[in-house]
Structure formats: structure tokens, C-alpha cells
């Protein structure tokens, strides 16, 4: 017993303790001493939690058309509707949907699309960037030319392509659920090049440095060198792109909605809500535009600020 226990302990605790040390000593301290980071973190957590818990928090389900009453349309915030007498905290939109509930459900979709798109773009971009920068030669040329082709296409066209292809392949019954995945791929695919270019550039620079040359001479496996030595060195710029990238992905979804592609209007995202609300800028129904915009602004801003802080905190040389 006494002989086996320590082995189990070390294998489990060692990584945990490293994590623990990281969180406890450096990051958490930095977080505690940065009011901006704490505020941004708080706002992010609130919005993300509210979005995740939308089905339980929201007073209505705006995605269930059977629950809607068109006559509730354009009900101002906190005022009873002139026909139905219904009252909504943040008012109702042009279809009689409760704006508050719609924002919660919309944020859920937007956040999901944003996180997944960034994850997709980052994984693809970093992998290809490392390979291109490390291997160089024809593989580098090929990948970078692919990147050129990719960049030549405005994201709207990539989205149109993916939507078009998806229309052909996906059976009608699944289309509604697939629309989100199509968006994720469309946005992620139009974003990976940035990561790849930066990682590649940095890899090329790092590769010629002495410590990497030394590691190669010792015979370290290239993957190990890339992950252990080069990747940490490029994480600074990658994080800058990724933090802006998350907000950007959420906004890209809004832009695609503006151009007429995106989630179905019966299940609006935050971006779709803004696109719809934008039409009422001059007509006096300010709440349809204002509340979703403020939510998006708060979310994107706090995620970005959090990213700023995280970058500084993660970089040992900046401490």
C-alpha cells in the first residue's frame, strides 16, 4: 500500500499542483490586483452565465412561435401594450418577442458561434502556421499560397459557399440546427489565416535562434520543440488575435446577418437582433436596437479587456 500510493499521488498531483501553483500565485494575484480585469471578468461571467441559463432565466421562450402574439409587437419597455396590456421589462420587438428573453437566447447562440469559430480558426491556424514555419520549403509555399487563396475570398462569399453546399447536403429536418455549424465553419474558415501568418512568421524567426538550434542538435523531436519552445513564444500575438477574434466572430455573425445569411430569423442571435433593430433607428422603437447592442458591446468589450489582462499576466517578461 505504502509503496503504490506515492506513485499514484505523484502522477495525479504533479500536474495538478503545477496548475494549482499557476492559478494561485501568478494569475490569481494579478487578477486580484487589476480592477479592470475583475470588472471585465464579472461582466463576462454574468453574460455567459445568463446566456447558458437562458431557458431557466428567460420569462418567455422567444423561439417558440406558438407563444408569440404579434399584437405585442413594439411594446415599449415597462409600459403595457395598448392592445394586449402585456408588460415587458425591456419591451417587445417587431414580432412581439420579449426583448429580454430574446437577448438571453440570442447571446447564447452568439457566444456559442464565437467560441467555436475561434477554437476552429485557432487550431487550424496554429497547426498550419507551425508546420509552414518549421518545415519551410515547398510545404510552406503551398500553405501560404492556400492562405492567399483563402484571404482572397471575402468571408461573405465563403459563408455563401458553405451555406450553398450545406443546402445541398443537409436534409431539411436538420437545417435549422445545422445553420449554426455552417456559420461556425464559415467564420472560422475566414479567420484562420491570421493565426497561421503570425505563427509562421514567429516560427521562422525563433527557428534560427540558438536555443532552438541547440535543441535540434541534441535531437529533440520537432513536435516537442514546436510545442515546448516555439508555441509559448508565439502565444502573445496569438492571444491578441484570439481575444479580438472572439468578439470579431460574434460581430462577423452579425455582419453576415446584415448581408442576408445566418441563423433563421425565427431564432435570432444577438447580431441578428441588432440587424433587425437597426431598421427601427429612425422610427422611435429604440429599445429593439439599444438593448441588444449594449449587451453585445458589454460582452465584446469585457472579453477583450479580459484578453488584454490575460496576455500581460501570462507573459513572464512583463511582470
Amino acid at each position: 500500500m505504502a509503496e503504490t500510493d506515492p506513485t499514484i499521488d505523484t502522477s495525479q498531483i504533479k500536474p495538478r499542483s503545477r496548475l494549482y501553483r499557476m492559478w494561485d500565485s501568478d494569475i490569481a494575484y494579478s487578477f486580484r490586483t487589476s480592477p479592470v480585469a475583475m470588472l471585465a471578468g464579472l461582466v463576462s461571467v454574468i453574460i455567459i452565465a445568463a446566456a447558458v441559463l437562458a431557458p431557466w432565466l428567460a420569462p418567455y421562450n422567444p423561439y417558440d412561435p406558438g407563444q408569440l402574439n404579434l399584437m405585442d409587437g413594439f411594446t415599449p419597455p415597462m409600459e403595457p401594450n395598448q392592445f394586449t396590456g402585456n408588460v415587458y421589462w425591456l419591451g417587445a420587438d417587431n414580432q412581439g418577442r420579449d426583448v429580454f428573453s430574446t437577448i438571453l437566447y440570442g447571446a447564447r447562440i452568439s457566444l456559442f458561434v464565437g467560441f467555436m469559430a475561434v477554437l476552429f480558426a485557432m487550431t487550424l491556424g496554429i497547426t498550419l502556421g507551425l508546420i509552414a514555419g518549421w518545415r519551410g520549403g515547398w510545404l510552406d509555399s503551398l500553405l501560404m499560397r492556400v492562405a492567399d487563396v483563402q484571404l482572397s475570398f471575402p468571408s461573405i462569399l465563403i459563408a455563401l459557399l458553405i451555406f450553398g453546399v450545406a443546402r445541398g447536403f443537409i436534409p431539411p429536418a436538420y437545417r435549422e440546427t445545422m445553420a449554426i455549424w455552417v456559420l461556425i465553419v464559415a467564420i472560422g474558415l475566414s479567420d484562420w489565416v491570421q493565426y497561421a501568418r503570425v505563427v509562421r512568421g514567429a516560427t521562422m524567426v525563433e527557428k534560427s535562434k540558438e536555443y532552438v538550434q541547440a535543441a535540434r542538435v541534441i535531437g529533440s523531436h520537432p513536435v516537442k520543440i514546436l510545442v515546448r519552445h516555439i508555441l509559448p513564444n508565439v502565444m502573445g500575438p496569438v492571444l491578441v488575435i484570439a481575444t479580438i477574434g472572439l468578439a470579431l466572430a460574434i460581430i462577423a455573425e452579425a455582419t453576415l446577418s446584415f448581408l442576408g445569411v445566418g441563423v433563421p430569423p425565427t431564432q435570432p442571435s444577438l447580431g441578428t437582433l441588432i440587424r433587425i433593430g437597426q431598421g427601427f433607428l429612425f422610427s422611435g422603437e429604440w429599445w429593439i436596437l439599444l438593448f441588444p447592442s449594449v449587451t453585445l458591446l458589454a460582452l465584446a468589450l469585457s472579453v477583450n479587456l479580459l484578453g488584454d489582462w490575460l496576455r500581460d499576466a501570462l507573459n513572464p517578461r512583463l511582470r
Binding site: D64, P65, G96, T266, G279
Partner: protein, 531 residues
């Protein structure tokens, strides 16, 4: 600089000083006779016969002229033809007496030969107008000012097809090699796309497609000189930008006003809004014929059941759509026909109040668990098209129909109807001939040959088809109207269309400008007057 005081949207004197300094250069000076006109899209071409499309015709009506015109009340008016009638001895021939003393912008004299040339050009592919002249067999000039149009059979309403067929100079067209309408496949730009020589009240001065078109009054025009002497036409595709341009005084007239902005514009000092019914109905339709549907979760075709069609009619709350989606700017109706079109009746127009309970019973009587189906909708074609579809999805949701909305751009939407790839769709239909036959030909008749191109219902009724075909050649107008009424009875009974409303038009303009709404959304700046 007088533009600020004219718009009247002025804030404070201080601001005005700054604003005038900045804006002095950004707006074209407006003396009383220049009119800055904005709408959503540009004319596609200036060729008079290439495209049968509203904005193209609207602009071309200022440069070119037709034999007969359409007044704002929908009646025909003399234009290049002073008189028109069916030939006394041969009821297959229409006679047109051509106006004398008319000259083209480049000085050529208008004669019957130009009219013959133009009608021939318009009815020959690749002209976009050919379908309207499909029944024409021969066009001849009897003398310099009389034209005979011979048709395949008696065609009492043929003249109604002529309101957008422009007359151009034969000499000019031959000189510039544009004897036929431009051919897309030829790979060369036709001279007539960017150059014009019409008889109309305005001459083309400058054109940058989708940016700016400038027209100046034609001194040699046969009619009274219009008050507007210069037109600056600028398409602005974004609704918010278009309204802003009017509010900031950068344009004088906005033709396509979003319904939600009408109230605000009316309340704005210095801006007024005119509205009127458009010759266009918005309705839903469905495949009521096929055995099964691609997009439904039940084994048969729900729309084939008259009860389901009735239930949908009972679930549709037209007044709510008018009130909320259209902001009061529509004419709800059960008939897919604008009131000023021949064949329209009060009875067709009347619609039942919604009865959700009864509708739910009808649905659950056949499908106890309800059913689901896809609804296809354009999102950039009609006023608030997507919002109308969304509203219907909610209404049908309450009677046990789970409708999955697919809204997309027009170039994806309309082929679905054309290729029978949709089970349930939204369509808008205008009636340029102002006669019911046009609706029947395209939407009701079995799809074959020239008939039924937009019949997405797959509806096919041999008896009705025969009646529809008889309309084209029936010269006894009373008997013809009776046939139209009989066809409508059947169409309404079978519930081929789930009509929502007749669309309304609104034009917003600077105070002091007077312009009436044109039912075909083709306003003429010649009719503009200034206070």
C-alpha cells in the same frame, strides 16, 4: 446657401452656421427646378426594350415615351398615340393613330415607321418585353401616322400591354447597330445601354450606373413643359441611409420609404409623405396537388386537404399583420388582386376574422399531433417580406402547424417556385395589364407552354384552363367579365392562394413638392409641382 432653410430640419442657429459651412459643398445647389430623387435600386439599363423591370421602366419613362400612358388612377392616357381602337372590319387588328409633330432628342421626326420598328424590336428576343407581345403577328405602317398591329386572334385588351413598350428612332438604332435588344451572350455592350435618343420630356446628360444619373428637360418636347427642369437620380440601397439623406436635406424625394419610418417622416418638419395602393398583392401559396411533400413530417400532403387550407385561412390574422408588421400601410384582402384590376369584387376582398379554435380543430381532426413543413420566403423583394413570413409562422404555430422558415435572397427564392422545389412559399404579384387574365395565365393555368410559369401550386383544372384561354380572344367584354368572375369563384373556393394584403406605396419628399403615388410605382417627375 438656401438649402438649410428649405429643409426645415434645422436645429439651432449656431449649428446651422457650422452645418452650412460643411454642407455647402456636399449638396448640389437646389434652385426650384432641380429635383434630387433617390430610390432603392438603379435602372438596369437605358435600353428601352431589354428589361421588363420596374425601376428600369420608371427611369426610361422620362427619356422615352410609350404609345399609351398609365395615369395614377390606372386608366390609359394618350401619349405618342393620340387614339387607338380595334379595326372596324377585322377584330384581330388594333389601329394606332400616331401623334404628329413629335421629334426625338437628336432631331429626327417621329413617324409610324419608328413605331413599327420599335414594336418589332420589342417583340423579338432577346427583348425582355417579348412575352407581352407574343400574340402579335405583324406590325405595319399604313401611312406616316397610322400603325396596324395584327394579332393571332381577337385581343380586346392588347393595348393594356403597351404601357411600358417604348418607341425609339429607327434611324438612330440602325446608325448605332442596335436594331435588336442587347444580347447578353454576344459579349459586347450595346450602344443603347448607356446612350439614349427618345422623344421623352428629359434628355440624358450624365450617367454612372448605380451612382448618379442626370436628366435635363428637352426643350423640343410636344407636351407642356414640366416644372422640374433637371433630375438628379441617385440609388441608395440601404433603407437607413436613404431616409437619412432625406432628413439631412441631401435629396428631395425618396421613393422607397420603409413602412416603419413613415410616421417619423410625417412628423418631421419640412418633410411630407404621400401614400397609395400599389398594384401588387402579397400572398402565400402551397403545393396542393402532389401526393407527398418533401419538407413535411407526415405521409401525405397536408395542403391537399381543403380543411387544412381553410384552417390556415382562419389562423391568418391579416389585421394584426397590417397593424404591427406593416404599420397600417397595407390593404388586407382575401383576394390576390388589387382593387383597381378588372375582375375585382367586394365579395372576393372580404376576409373572415381569425378563429384559432376552429382552425386548431380542423388541423387536429386530420393530424392529431399537428405537422411540420418548410416555408420559403424572400428577404429582399417585398415590403417586410421576411417579417410577414415570421408572423405567419407564429400564427400557424398556434394551430398545431410547426413551420420552419427559410428566408433567403430573391435569386435563391424565385427559382424554387419556378422549378417546383418549394411546398409552401410567399409570392407577390403585380398586374401590369390591370386585368385578371394576367393572374390566371401565370398563376392558375396548368403549367404548360407560355402558361403557368409561376403556378407553384401544381394546380391543374382542365375546365378552368379552357375558360382562361377563352379570355384572350373573347371580344364581348360582358361575357368575358362573366367568365372572369366564374374563374375567380372556383379559385377562391379551392383556396389556391392565402392572400395577405395589397401592398401600399409611400413617397417621402421635401415640403413644397407635390407628387402622387403611381400604382405601378413608376412616378413621373413631369407631374411634380412646386408650391
Amino acid at each position: 446657401m438656401s438649402f438649410m432653410t428649405k429643409t426645415g430640419t434645422l436645429r439651432t442657429a449656431l449649428m446651422a452656421g457650422v452645418a452650412t459651412a460643411a454642407m455647402a459643398f456636399t449638396s448640389v445647389p437646389t434652385d426650384a427646378e432641380t429635383l434630387r430623387w433617390a430610390r432603392v435600386g438603379d435602372a438596369l439599363t437605358l435600353d428601352p426594350h431589354s428589361q421588363n423591370e420596374g425601376p428600369t421602366h420608371t427611369l426610361n419613362h422620362h427619356i422615352y415615351e410609350t404609345l399609351v400612358g398609365r395615369a395614377v388612377d390606372g386608366t390609359l392616357t394618350p401619349r405618342l398615340a393620340t387614339d387607338w381602337y380595334i379595326h372596324d372590319e377585322d377584330d384581330t387588328v388594333w389601329v394606332f393613330e400616331i401623334r404628329e409633330g413629335v421629334t426625338f432628342h437628336e432631331g429626327q421626326e417621329l413617324t409610324a415607321h419608328d413605331v413599327v420598328f420599335s414594336l418589332d424590336r420589342a417583340r423579338t428576343p432577346p427583348s425582355g418585353m417579348a412575352a407581352l407581345h407574343a400574340a402579335v403577328e405583324e406590325v405595319t405602317a399604313v401611312d406616316d401616322y397610322t400603325v396596324h398591329v395584327r394579332l393571332a386572334g381577337p385581343a380586346p385588351l392588347y393595348v393594356q400591354n403597351l404601357t411600358n413598350t417604348f418607341v425609339m428612332s429607327r434611324e438612330w438604332a440602325e446608325e448605332h447597330g442596335t436594331e435588336t435588344a442587347p444580347n447578353f451572350a454576344a459579349g459586347e455592350e450595346a450602344y443603347s445601354v448607356r446612350n439614349t435618343n427618345g422623344t421623352g420630356p428629359y434628355m440624358l446628360v450624365e450617367r454612372e450606373a448605380e451612382e448618379r444619373t442626370v436628366l435635363r428637360v428637352f426643350e423640343g418636347h410636344w407636351d407642356d413643359a414640366p416644372q422640374v427642369t433637371e433630375i438628379i437620380y441617385t440609388p441608395i440601397s440601404e433603407a437607413a441611409t436613404r431616409v437619412s439623406a432625406l432628413l439631412s436635406g441631401e435629396v428631395d424625394i425618396v421613393q422607397d420609404v420603409p413602412v416603419q419610418d413613415i410616421a417619423r417622416l410625417e412628423q418631421t418638419d419640412g418633410v411630407s409623405v404621400v401614400r397609395g395602393p400599389e398594384n401588387r398583392n402579397i400572398f402565400f401559396s402551397y403545393d396542393m396537388t402532389s401526393e407527398t411533400l418533401a419538407s413535411t413530417n407526415v405521409d401525405d400532403n397536408p395542403f391537399a386537404h381543403p380543411e387544412i387550407r381553410e384552417a390556415m385561412a382562419l389562423a391568418l390574422d391579416r389585421d394584426a399583420i397590417r397593424q404591427v408588421v406593416m404599420r397600417g400601410e397595407s390593404q388586407p384582402s382575401a383576394a390576390p388582386l388589387p382593387p383597381f384590376v378588372n375582375g375585382w369584387t367586394e365579395e372576393m376582398h372580404a376576409y373572415d376574422a381569425p378563429d384559432i379554435e376552429r382552425a386548431s380543430e380542423l388541423v387536429s381532426g386530420i393530424y392529431p399531433n399537428g405537422f411540420s413543413v418548410d416555408l420559403h420566403c424572400p428577404n429582399d423583394r417585398y415590403l417586410n417580406d421576411e417579417a410577414i413570413c415570421q408572423a405567419l409562422v407564429g400564427m400557424l404555430g398556434r394551430i398545431g402547424m410547426n413551420v420552419n422558415l427559410v428566408s433567403q435572397t430573391r435569386s435563391l427564392h424565385f427559382p424554387l417556385i419556378e422549378n417546383w422545389e418549394t411546398d409552401f412559399y410567399l409570392l407577390g404579384w403585380g398586374v401590369p395589364t390591370f386585368d385578371s387574365q394576367y393572374v390566371f395565365d401565370f398563376l392558375v393555368h396548368t403549367r404548360e407552354g407560355a402558361y403557368g410559369a409561376f403556378n407553384g401550386t401544381r394546380y391543374s383544372n382542365a375546365e378552368l384552363d379552357a375558360m382562361i384561354q377563352s379570355l384572350a380572344t373573347e371580344t364581348d367584354l360582358e361575357a368575358r367579365d362573366a367568365t372572369i368572375a366564374a374563374i375567380w369563384d372556383q379559385v377562391m373556393e379551392d383556396r389556391i392562394f392565402l392572400n395577405v394584403h395589397n401592398q401600399m406605396l409611400a413617397y417621402a419628399m421635401r415640403d413644397g413638392i407635390n407628387l402622387d403615388v403611381h400604382p405601378e410605382n413608376q412616378p413621373r417627375m413631369t407631374s411634380v409641382t412646386f408650391d
